[in-house]
Assembly symmetry: C2
Homo-oligomer: 249 residues x 2
């Protein structure tokens, strides 16, 4: 069985993509150990030639090419039915799709201003110009302007997270007693925040105690998978590799 | 097997509670036909004596008394394992709990201003004073003031509903190919809106086409369960039964 995982990477091999993180956890959940092809934004032509679109992650499996993290998760579930289930059956898959949509459109969107100005520094220097120009065109402002009022926009993120905190105060994982794909999707957003910024969005222990404990449990899964790669860079470096400023938090 | 369902009712037996609606659908899903005890707000002492708290729905099952709709759904699932599953297993139950929490704290809350000023007219006249005083104390304003800017607050409800619309554009039910408890929970909120106000919160077909189609399918389930009871009253009547105003939409 040939299984290849095209995974987005950033500075010095950092894993910077929430979409790749949820697939990395899904692969670990299924006990699969694919060949990993680290993929930078600059590798876009290879990705396009392979899949006809420019997003990662992508899975190649026995000659099939699957892109879009949800489609990949469904493919893994359907093609590896003997491995632990990601959804727990059709009804769980349906509900997981709703959680996935909510995560991408509500939760992750409310997180972006918390990390965007920091995030550029964990991207490979040669990818930064692309990241900045594409995101700034989308936002209609600089990354720094978008993230300027982080303290003011943090409550919106915590409000979006409130159903997670409430649910995790009642059960250890979002999928119940054991983690499954809904946990990997939501964790990938918090992991994106961990890797992408030195500021902890869950810094106030009293506000989200259950979410913090769950995040710790999620990081520890699969031999500490959440800490297997480098975290936020200690020194922000320019394209020439020269340190331009120190970590701010 | 003795199974008794204490179900909230309003004016002339109308079913006015989203929490009772999700249990009514769950019972139908399980093929259970309990004895129904219609329960008004005025029946609070009976409910308290039975369950030690004042909310409906309540299930009595072989001498056990279960309150709180989520606990009831879990009880039905666990005690009637041979009937069609409400969650599709542990992972589905976990994700359903998250959807349930989100529905009660985000979706239903954003709906309240759309219906509260109308809702009082589908409550039994003798229950209206209690409903008004308890809700107005909670809101810090009259029901009418709370609902005064409905057109202005509708976008917030539609924005909260956006992940539902998106998910239902991809799959026929929130639980996937067939309805399950996550559908009943979310539908109960839209049913609350249908019963509680003559204004259709999904009035603009182009905005939420998938959500509208799903609502129609949900109403039709179990022999048209969603239309089995009276809808919003054509005439609003005062405590003395005299019509005070005509339906406004």
């Amino acid at each position: 069985m040939a299984l290849i995982f095209h995974e987005r990477i950033g500075l010095d091999g950092r894993r910077i993509s929430p979409f790749s993180w949820r697939i990395r956890y899904a692969l670990a959940h299924k006990g699969l150990d694919p060949q990993v092809i680290p993929t930078r934004f600059a590798d876009v032509e290879r990705i396009r030639a392979l899949s006809g679109q420019h997003f990662t992650p992508i899975i190649e499996h026995d000659g099939q090419v699957i892109h879009d993290s949800w489609s990949i998760a469904c493919h893994l579930e359907d093609r590896f039915p003997e491995s632990p289930t990601l959804f727990g059956g059709p009804a769980g898959r349906g509900a997981a799709r709703l959680v996935n949509v909510w995560s991408d459109t509500v939760l992750a969107r409310s997180l972006r201003p918390q990390i965007y100005a920091d995030f550029i520094w964990c991207i490979d220097p040669a990818d930064r110009a692309y990241f900045r120009s594409s995101r700034e065109a989308q936002l209609g402002m600089t990354l720094e302007a978008y993230s300027a009022d982080r303290d003011q926009s943090l409550p919106a993120f915590l409000e979006a997270s409130a159903p997670l905190e409430r649910t995790l105060s009642e059960q250890p994982f979002l999928a119940g007693e054991a983690p499954a794909y809904v946990d990997y999707v939501i964790f990938s957003v918090f992991q994106w925040a961990r890797i992408g910024s030195p500021r902890d969005v869950l810094a106030a222990p009293a506000t989200t105690p259950s979410l913090r404990d769950w995040r710790t449990r999620m990081i520890a899964l699969y031999g500490g998978l959440g800490d297997r790669f480098e975290g936020y860079p200690q020194h922000r470096t320019g394209p020439d590799g020269r340190a331009t400023e120190q970590e701010t938090a």
